[in-house]
């Protein structure tokens, strides 16, 4: 595996994103909006006493879990189009005639979707934490973030969820030939993450640091498995004969 080749794929995709700014806007708008909306919702809950705010503190972390879900959902647009796009634009045949290997293509495409998606997630999470800190500082006299739970959520679980989301969407992208189909299938992956959130809210599982780390470990294993599945599904011959 030549990482320079994989990074070359990433640079090319970033150059395209730079020219098609709408891709960047579509990636950032949802996390930024959620980052602002969640604290505002809490502010709108009027007439809360100080003790009520203390009681609300777990809700902040629960809302922070949404950024793990977002990290998995944001790559849908980019990752699901990654291979389908090259198929549609007929750019795969000349690319496959270069010394680039399948693994380098998959890695490059994974990073092209992962990097902007995780940055967009962090943007939203940063907005959320700043607004949350303003509220808790005003009401309780201290700031809530950063803390270890947030670190586990954002530095461990969110990137892994993002890789998982990217790999899953790439798997779909390799198998289908229409970006709309790819996005519809890709969007379905938010369901298992939502189940974890609901189980956490229902008290079935605690949404604490330990649970998040276990959950992250599962995501990591699944993401690695999907990466290798993607590599094996990336059949040059099938792509060349069916899609070029």
């Amino acid at each position: 595996m030549d990482f320079e080749n994989a990074w070359n794929v990433v640079s090319k995709d970033f150059a395209i994103f730079k020219k098609k700014r709408s891709i960047i806007y579509s990636l950032t708008i949802l996390p930024a909006a959620i980052g602002i909306a969640f604290p505002i919702i809490l502010i709108l809950i009027k007439n809360l006493s100080q003790s009520s705010y203390v009681a609300l503190l777990p809700a902040f972390n629960a809302l922070l879990f949404w950024f793990i879900i977002l990290a998995a959902i944001i790559p849908v647009a980019v990752a699901s189009y990654s291979i389908v796009g090259e198929k549609l634009e007929k750019t795969l045949e000349p690319l496959l005639a270069t010394p680039l290997t399948d693994g380098e293509i998959i890695l490059g495409k994974t990073l092209s979707a992962f990097i902007p998606s995780i940055l967009a997630t962090y943007l939203g999470a940063a907005v959320f934490m700043i607004f949350s800190d303003i509220i808790t500082f005003q009401q309780l006299g201290y700031i809530l973030y950063p803390n270890w739970t947030a670190a586990a959520f954002l530095l461990v679980a969110a990137p892994l969820a993002c890789i998982f989301g990217t790999e899953f969407n790439m798997l779909v992208s390799i198998r289908v030939n229409d970006p709309r189909t790819a996005q519809n299938y890709g969007g379905a992956l938010y369901l298992p993450l939502l189940v974890v959130f609901i189980l956490g809210e229902a008290g079935t599982i605690p949404l604490d640091t330990k649970t998040i780390l276990i959950f992250s470990g599962i995501l990591l294993v699944v993401a690695i498995i999907i990466f290798y599945i993607n590599k094996s599904l990336f059949q040059r011959e099938e792509i060349i004969t069916k899609y070029t």
């Binding site: 080749n5 640079s11 090319k12 007929k90 000349p94 010394p99 011959e237």
Partner: protein, 305 residues
């Protein structure tokens, strides 16, 4: 440089290429002619390592098609212009070439030099920063050829390089291929334009799943019906016809005031024929040499005539 022996490709039960045996020498421009679906693109894809072979062997230089380790080396030796140019339409001409150049570990400076050289040669340098999506078909085709050459490959596979181009753009591309020929590159040219093959290729192969014929365009045309000498006379009569038939029994056709005579060596035979006509009282107005065209040969093989 390119050797194939009984190279076969099957897609399920359909045989796309059947027992292709071929040798192409270094510096040769080889034209592959055949109707749509004849196996031209499949052959190029097999030789370029894009698809696997079902059976047989093929070598590019000293490397085996189908051997994974060799394939990486083969990919560095070859340049491919596919039928669909497949450019990144949102990237500029320069960016498209630079992207591909980086896969071959060409230094930034060298990439810049080569990109400038090819874009200037193909008349695209002034549009280097323009998105490829804004290019005309001809410009895209030229840019895709430059992309295939960015790493200075020894072997070039060109799949229908002038298809869908207007005559002027097609001529630019053909002239560029001739320039590449002068650089002693080995070129495998898929085309269904017979005039193009005749102008550019040292040898041509006619394929319709099986390789039906392979030779120089001249030999192929001569092999069909040899060379004909057409002599236009002021008037024609039996005495003249008999005089010529005496020299070339069974090889003379008469049409209006013309004699069409099959010859094998016109330079040797024509003076005797003309002398015989004049002795018989004939007055020659015009002498022409006619050979079969590549189109005649192509149609003969493809239609199985």
């Amino acid at each position: 440089m390119i050797d194939a022996e009984n190279l076969t490709k099957k897609f399920d039960k359909i045989t796309a290429v059947d027992n292709l045996t071929l040798h192409i020498s270094e510096g040769e421009v080889f034209g592959f002619l055949g109707p749509n679906g004849a196996g031209k693109t499949t052959t190029v894809r097999m030789l370029a390592g894009l698809i696997s072979k079902t059976s047989g062997t093929a070598r590019i230089g000293e490397y085996d098609i189908g051997n994974n380790k060799d394939m990486q080396k083969i990919r560095r030796m070859i340049g491919l212009l596919p039928e669909n140019v497949g450019l990144y339409e949102n990237l500029s001409a320069y960016q498209n070439l630079d992207y591909y150049g980086r896969f071959y570990k060409i230094s930034k400076e060298q990439r810049r030099e080569r990109i400038e050289y090819f874009l200037k040669m193909l008349g695209l340098w002034d549009q280097k920063d323009l998105s490829a999506g804004k290019f005309s078909k001809g410009m895209k085709q030229k840019l895709a050829i430059a992309r295939a050459l960015i790493h200075d490959p020894q072997i070039l596979f060109l799949d229908e390089p002038t298809a869908n181009l207007d005559p002027e753009a097609a001529k630019t591309v053909r002239d560029f291929i001739l320039e590449l020929k002068r650089e002693n590159r080995t070129i495998f040219l898929n085309t269904h334009l017979l005039s193009e093959a005749e102008k550019l290729c040292d040898r041509v192969g006619i394929i319709k799943t099986k390789l039906l014929a392979v030779d120089t365009p001249k030999n192929l045309t001569q092999s069909l019906s040899g060379i004909k000498t057409v002599i236009q006379l002021e008037t024609i009569n039996d005495k003249i016809i008999m005089a010529v038939e005496k020299l070339k029994p069974g090889e003379v056709e008469v049409s209006d005031n013309k004699l069409v005579i099959n010859v094998t060596d016109p330079e040797l035979e024509n003076p005797d024929i003309l002398k015989a006509i004049e002795t018989a009282g004939g007055r020659v107005q015009l002498v022409n040499e006619v050979t079969s065209t590549l189109e005649d040969v192509y149609l003969k093989y493809v239609r199985g005539e």
